[in-house]
Subunit: 350 residues, 2 copies
């Protein structure tokens, strides 16, 4: 099989973790006789530094012509505390999501027995947790009209949703639920927001087409509690963009390490795969970051390309490192291995 | 001292818990020689049932003429799953917040050693947690323009903030931080939202007037993680309306029981005090709900009236019940006391 993969290393620890994934993809390609063509592109603070633009046109172009995108991380503190900055790294990622119509962000939340001791939650609360968050990714308040008046005495962000935007991600989520434990929870704030009431109405309607899926509804404030109080109750969680940003990051603490959680953003064309951990600038360049988030994202990428066996092997290798204590500093601050060593070990296993 | 208190029992378990607080306030009045005049008013589903209006004008009127408001809970499931309902209980509370200009919601997050075993978090993560969330309560997306077109194919909610709205709650939060450990954390999403950038800018400016307070900034997605990963890092957390709704409920799981967390909403005139637990309709009328959230809200009310000694005594009584296992069913499902019994015990102690 021959595939075109765009690689965007991005900011902070993005480059060093992404390189491990590329090594792993190369090993997979060798073992299984595939050819992966890589196109390296810029986005984020790195792209601003080099081109002045957080998302150069060539990056969009390359992504549109690719089969999948492997992405590292975005963001740099120098932009965060300057509320008047005109150009920001995050604009690059938001624009890419919009340009590629990556309307669904998929975040599996799973736990590993060997990491239970690292979780802030009691083991009995997290054993067997296994759910997936579907976050709508190209609508809502992220993309609505933003205004600030000249004197900076008033600002606004508009949150807009259309029925179509809700429908397409909902269908995906229902179909996913059908392949799993057949439960879907919509998270909204329908007691206050008009957009949430539209979400609830559309999801109630769509539910009729998936009679085998049990549906329930949670207000986002309650959901923020339930994710910690009783995460086992969830199977597929569906929600809008901003709520999804918050609750998916909240849910990521369950596993005990943010460093190993992957994500996929899919839509009409090419799909994008990235670890959830962000650019983590304090660790950049030190070869200490956990590459598993990126490597497990590469596994999701392989799945997306239809290479299920290959994906399973990468996951097996990742779990093998964890259960044999081949781990990075975030997991064991005393006996730890370097980012690049974990990458090698996974390649060797594969 | 003579004071006028409006009592709004509200929905679900609201009436039964509020009645315990009134008993406690009466006992305090007797002990300390105060006179509290109570005016009972309607709001929420209860008010809709009786008057068709979730917030009758008489309620607003009475509140405006009162020194403080003791409120139970709001909400009924029959409205939640009907996205087309025109009248909703929550409209009552939102309108009251706006009418009384209750612009700051204050939520203490504390833990009790005797309840550590009930927390979903490991004890080492929660020992000594003690922070307060300041949530802006009368602006943002809750009160912006809401629209839905006739065919229900598109809906929108506008999030607007003015500099003044941000300033007034920020000053309160900074002053509060000065009385505590002198740390303030602003939670926003300044890498995406224009309103958040205004928040960050205004808070940066105000910080200059409170040089003794250390300020930091967290994106809301990161805050949702930090609240669980390391809640001890927080002293005063300041945030906008919607983020505050989500993270304050999230933070409420730390203590091990939602049933005992109080809140205060303050502004220009009368202030409102309510437990955070909500109407919890499944438990209504069974005399099993935990009255401590309401009773500790009454303690905040006493503080607000300048009755610090009285407030401290109520808190002491509440802690005495907890450490002597006089607890409701939510805390001990086997050996439990009724709502009304806990109320009596606290009165006896006082
Ligand atoms: C970087 C930022 C714009 C982004 C978001 O909020 O969507 C990130 O937090 C994420 O969740 O992917
Ligand atoms: C009832 C509802 C409107 C309210 C809110 O979201 O503000 C509640 O959740 C709260 O936090 O007080």
């Amino acid at each position: 099989m021959e595939k075109n993969i765009v690689v965007i290393e991005g900011d902070g620890i993005g480059p060093e973790v992404t390189r491990q994934s590329v090594k792993v993809l190369n090993t997979i390609a060798e073992q299984f006789g595939h050819t992966f063509h890589y196109t390296y592109c810029l986005m984020g603070a790195d792209a601003i530094d080099k081109t002045g633009n957080p998302l150069p046109d060539e990056t969009i172009e390359a992504c549109l012509n690719s089969d999948a995108i492997l992405f590292g991380a975005i963001g740099h503190p120098k932009y965060d505390n300057d509320p008047t900055a005109k150009v920001r790294p995050e604009q690059g990622l938001l624009k890419l999501r919009k340009s590629l119509q990556l309307f669904a962000n998929i975040r599996p939340v799973t736990t590993y027995a060997s990491l239970h001791h690292l979780s802030p939650l009691k083991t009995k609360n997290i054993e067997g947790v296994d759910f997936v968050i579907f976050r709508e990714l190209t609508g809502g308040i992220y993309f609505g009209k933003k205004e600030v008046n000249e004197e900076r005495t008033q600002a606004s962000d508009d949150c807009v949703y259309t029925r179509e935007e809700i429908e397409r991600v909902s269908h995906l989520a229902f179909q996913y639920a059908q392949q799993r434990r057949k439960k879907l929870t919509l998270v909204d704030k329908a007691n206050v927001l008009e957009t949430s009431r539209l979400w609830r109405k559309v999801v109630q309607e769509i539910a009729a087409q998936y009679a085998d899926v049990a549906v329930d509804f949670l207000f986002v404030d309650n959901a923020a509690m339930q994710i910690i109080l009783n995460p086992k109750q969830f199977d597929v969680v569906l929600t809008e963009n901003m709520f999804g940003d918050i609750i998916s990051d909240e849910a990521s603490v369950i596993s005990g390490s943010l460093g190993l959680l992957p994500s996929a953003s899919i839509g009409k064309g090419a799909a994008l795969f990235e670890p959830i951990h962000g650019s983590y600038p304090q660790a950049a360049g030190k070869d200490i970051a956990n590459p598993l988030g990126s490597i497990l994202s590469a596994a999701m990428l392989l799945d997306h390309l239809g290479l299920a066996k290959e994906a399973a092997l990468v996951r097996e290798a990742a779990e093998w490192t964890l259960s044999n204590s081949f781990v990075t500093k975030d997991i064991d601050p005393v006996n730890f291995y370097f980012t690049s060593t974990i990458g090698e070990l996974i390649c060797d296993y594969v």
